[in-house]
Amino acid sequence: MNRDRLVFLVVVGLFAAVNLGLFLSGRLPANAEGVGILLAAGVSLALYSFLYKDNPLFKLAEHLYVGVVAAYELGQVWFQNMLPDVLPRGAAIYEAVRHPIDVGWALLGDPRQIVTIGIQVVPVILGLFLMTRLTGRSVWLSRISFAFIVGLGAGLVIPRRISAYVLDQLGPTIQPLWTEAGFAFSPFLILLGVVSVLIYFSFSFEHTGAVGAVSRVGIWFLMVSFGASFGYTVMARLSLLIGQLTFLLEKWLTLNLPLW
């Protein structure tokens, strides 16, 4: 415990000293931008400290981060959805409720306007149904909103996946196995891979006997694929670390990094 506290104090002290130096030497400007960079560097380093172990600095940064993000996302919802989509509809509903006779006349003139009105009103009602969960009364109304979201999502996915993930994938898998150049090895492997993976995933058979043998080939394909994807990802993750370290070195410590 004592060692942890010592490490903690040394780290905080170092951070303070470095920033003091940066500001006093004028390498970081003493304005909103400079303070912002200091804050960004502090948050970054505090989150990195999780690599050593969970500690007060990480907890501080984590909790601050969660609070800021929550308010930001709420703001996004307000400015992107509530203001342009919900409030105009709410105002229209309010007007309609205030002048029900006008609405009635309009509907008598063209009954199909019920659809136009429904399109405006129903989503707001479905949204309001969710609010029953806060009041704790008539909570079952929220299920109607769930049903709409789940049902529509389930419906939309069906045709859209068939094209991209099945039909478009069949053609390229079907290639002649014998060409002028001789036996076509890669097309054969692709066919073997697709078929053996499909068989590996079938639910009807235990992985024994002939099905077991083909499934095993399927596992090999899966393993090559997972290994390759893993290896491919290492690079991307290192890129992110490079990016964040570059930020700390260039923007915070104001160092010049060599291009070559």
């Binding site: 969660v66 993000v69 079907i174 995933f201 009807s204 893993f230």
Partner: protein, 280 residues
């Protein structure tokens, strides 16, 4: 078959909407999508037929290790007096991945209630949170333990991807759940969660159809439900014959595609191409 009346209602709704001036287009069928339409119809009929057949026949299916480990995880959590943490993926409720995850959660909650395990559910979407609350509450009630349900255990952890990861990483090292169960569609946070979970010695069970994250779950979790196994999980756990029937239909679909690929390749090798596949 009261679904017939539902179907009529659905089509009537659609017609009603389409005949309004707001949607003034007169093209009634996209002929380029005909192959898609026929595939969808054929497979839908297959699924529905197998679901109705399933009630009469006994269906055998292969084992899925990850699901058998769920009971082990719950048992160990109860023994250690530690919670089980269920982590939803990063898709909202309109995604099939999340729907499948909720189906698994429903079965898991039933068992957790029976075992008397403390179940925590982390969410990144409020609608998923609300649905999960409903699901867990009903499951606890069904299992005769409505008193054990606490709405605050199914919580909104954070509002974006990496604050979600930060909070859950913190939660995992501080609460040390006996098991971390990650279900749904995941992105880069998969490894942030699973690698942190691996250091606490928790049993980790993942299920995702996010192809890019499978390598990380496979290596860092004890059990991983890969791709369609996530969708099948609720059928396995509930042992409901109707749900199991739809798995059989999937197998028939796979068999048909396999046959098509092999026959198609055979024909292509002899210079005959199947025009409807657009084979090159």
């Amino acid at each position: 078959m009261h679904h017939l009346s539902h179907l009529i209602a659905a089509i009537a709704t659609l017609l009603l909407i389409l005949t309004t001036p707001a949607f003034g287009s007169d093209e009634w069928f996209d002929t380029e999508a005909l192959d898609n339409f026929l595939t969808a119809i054929a497979f839908s009929i297959l699924v529905l037929v197998y679901i109705s057949l399933a009630r009469r026949r006994d269906l055998t299916i292969r084992r899925l290790g990850g699901l058998e480990a769920l009971d082990e995880a719950l048992g160990r959590a109860t023994e250690m007096g530690k919670p089980v943490l269920f982590i939803h993926g990063l898709h909202d409720m309109n995604s099939v991945s999340t729907i499948a995850a909720v189906n698994v959660l429903s079965q898991l909650a039933r068992r957790a209630a029976e075992f008397g395990t403390h179940l925590m559910v982390a969410n990144r979407y409020p609608i998923v949170m609300s649905v999960s609350q409903e699901v867990v509450k009903e499951a606890f009630a069904d299992a005769g333990r409505p008193d054990a349900y606490n709405e605050q255990d199914i919580f909104f952890a954070a509002a974006d991807q990496f604050s979600y990861a930060a909070t859950l990483d913190g939660l995992i090292v501080r609460e040390e759940p006996a098991a971390n169960i990650m279900m749904g569609y995941f992105y880069a946070e998969s490894l942030l969660l699973a690698e942190t979970g691996a250091t606490t010695g928790a049993i980790q069970i993942a299920g995702t159809d996010a192809y890019t994250q499978l390598p990380f779950f496979i290596t860092t979790c004890d059990y991983t439900l890969m791709g369609e196994e996530l969708y099948a999980a609720s059928a396995y756990l509930s042992r409901d014959p109707k749900l199991l029937g739809s798995l059989k239909a999937q197998d028939i679909g796979k068999a048909a595609i396999t046959a098509l690929l092999i026959v198609g390749t055979f024909l292509a090798t002899f210079g005959i191409s199947l025009p409807f596949l657009g084979a090159s």
